[in-house]
Symmetry: C2
Subunit: 382 residues, 2 copies
């Protein structure tokens, strides 16, 4: 049985490795040239994309920014899971916001800007700390812009004036003061069964995820209920099939949806060593209708991204409970090269293990790790 | 980093899958034609064996019966792990018996038969229930013969008279009445560190392993100590590097070594889902000197072999704690097609899960499962 994955990066690789024991082979598509390859060995297959589409029982994605012609070609096969609606909700922030609004799901206060004139009076609505985000990635000149005071408005006006906002609108979001970012990763199958992993707590640095802790510390019943409820409402609304990740801001006892990722997600990588069925196997199970596996979590877990760095000894994997997942990519600045999962019996022990791990790592590449380890060490050993 | 595995069956496949997250690529050699291939996708590499030997950091085996010219070629590279001595101790029962004798390790009472005249008077030494085993596998006409009473001696004499016993001697072993077969699987690294997995209890049917339970039920401290001590003495005597499996007969409070397998082993497959570091990753760690991983075992585990059978629904993997490992081989009678690992909180629950699993399986292919499940169910839920 074959599953075709659009995209051939580390997520496709990890899907391949999780699928193989089930007797399922993953073909990956390099979306830059539509070649079909083995995402682990990088061996290119002799057959072409059309054959791979024909052979596949299910077709899925490892990222949401798939060139539209390819996505349409695949959608026409009737095998795309999750569906186009779900992928576009992840790829297009305007659609994402509509989805949340339609389903009454809390998110950051925002405006959709498709005309530069809308900037006028915006501070009356959103205050003077605003983040502007391109609704779609991968468009030249687009990205994210922060407005830290009303005096920035003039230069932003000039910048946005040069963009085609009707084609690619901006989302203007009030910069919220949130306590932390958490994420809920889970799966929904075609029968509507839903199974979420434990909620993870995510630490970012310069816009990149550096560390996840799962289950997140200090979770209240209210937060757990809300996160799972939000997951369920979004997954059902989309008739979602596969693994879905939802990033959430926690503000006191309330959750705001930050982002929806229609795929396996970096903040779910800890499941590879901390749960019976990891997110990659769960995704394969969901898209092939095999039935979802157990997400029971006997440990507390940390996931540490290795970013733009290869200069450490593999000796670190000899540390009790440390598991390396290496992507085998060429080193580039700020590139995710791999991750390290650490499992422990409790948070304090996890803190100790992260301190021990840090001795094997160049600290400058792991700026949040020492602080987080110390925070965890302060928990009592229970 | 590359590891070359002699043999390209399911053990090589599972080594590949465990190595990939460490950034290690496994090349497998099909020993019938010395081609080098990817043991998961079966894609044949463009380079030849000599190149693969050159590229590999370590070279290892997935089975002990490697053609001698190949083994010598590889030995000459200085990269073979475990070493030739260890592989031959597994491949040749005479060497195995010498090893055990040299190290004073208990095993079944036996004689080495390299001349048919030695049959005379054999019943005075070993009794009239004897099993004769070829010292080496893969020789035409050789195998195993059971003598159930002294009256069988005549026809066995005729059979053995046709064999070249000086070239390939037989081991004549007193058929022991043992309580059960258990196995200890563990790893030793080049620094002499040793780390064993929990002891497994193995159920055979018609000479094939059908079910393993780990940890074995009703283990006493004496048995655990003996098993680990035997492992340590054998592994150290061989200066072993890698995963080693030792099959043991338990007779009351005593253990007798039945067989030594110088490789990852079917009775260690449960570690894939029941332990932080499975036997496949542990083997890769050991041969590359990465340091051994944790073998902490939070669950009780069953491993159920799927033998000569493909007629079941993949729905079984939806059962809580069930994990399918499918080898993707062509169906043949008595061929191991895959295995199913089941994890549970205690033996009684494991019994319940095996009963539930059996509902998805054709019972005739799993003749021991119902009985074993019922035995486990009788344990109290603690």
């Amino acid at each position: 049985m074959k599953v075709l994955v659009l995209g051939a990066g580390q997520l496709a690789k990890m899907l391949y490795l999780a699928a193989a024991p089930l007797g399922v082979e993953v073909f990956a598509v390099d979306v830059t040239d539509n070649s079909v390859l083995n995402p682990v060995s990088r061996q290119v297959h002799e057959f072409d994309l059309a054959f791979a589409i024909e052979e596949a029982k299910a077709i899925t994605v490892e990222f949401e920014h798939i060139p539209e012609p390819l996505l349409e070609l695949v959608e026409a096969s009737g095998k795309l899971m999750p569906n186009m609606l779900s992928i576009m909700a992840g790829a297009d922030r305007v659609r994402e916001k509509y989805l949340l609004a339609q389903n009454g799901i809390a998110n950051c206060q925002h405006l959709i800007i498709d005309n530069v004139d809308q900037l006028e009076g915006i501070t009356d609505i959103l205050g003077d700390k605003i983040i502007f985000k391109s609704s779609r990635d991968g468009y030249d000149g687009y990205g994210q812009w922060r407005m830290r005071s009303a005096s920035d408005l003039g230069s932003l006006h000039d910048t946005f004036d040069k963009l085609d906002l009707r084609k690619v609108p901006l989302i203007a979001e009030k910069m919220s003061l949130f306590d932390r970012e958490i994420s809920v990763v889970g799966a929904r199958d075609a029968k509507g069964n839903i199974c979420c992993f434990q909620i993870a707590e995510n630490l970012h640095y310069e816009g990149q995820l550096h560390v996840s802790i799962a289950p997140a510390t200090k979770l209240t019943k209210t937060i757990i209920f809300q996160a799972n409820d939000i997951f369920k409402r979004i997954a059902n609304a989309l008739e979602y099939v596969g693994v879905l990740a939802i990033e959430l801001f926690q503000v006191g006892d309330e959750l705001l949806v930050n982002e929806i990722a229609p795929r396996v997600h970096n903040s779910g990588h800890w499941t590879q060593d901390g749960v019976g069925t990891c997110q990659f196997e769960q995704h394969i199970r969901a898209v092939l209708g095999f039935g979802l596996g157990s997400t029971k979590t006997p440990y507390v877990n940390a996931m540490v991204n290795v970013i733009g760095c290869t200069s450490f000894s593999r000796d670190l994997i000899a540390l009790d409970g440390c598991h390396l997942h290496w992507y085998g990519k060429t080193l580039r600045e700020k590139r995710k090269m791999g991750h390290i999962n650490v499992v422990a019996d409790n948070y304090a022990q996890l803190g100790d293990k992260l301190i021990a791990l840090l001795e094997h790592l160049p600290e400058e590449s792991f700026p949040l790790l020492a602080g987080e380890a110390k925070r965890l060490q302060a928990f009592s050993q229970t």
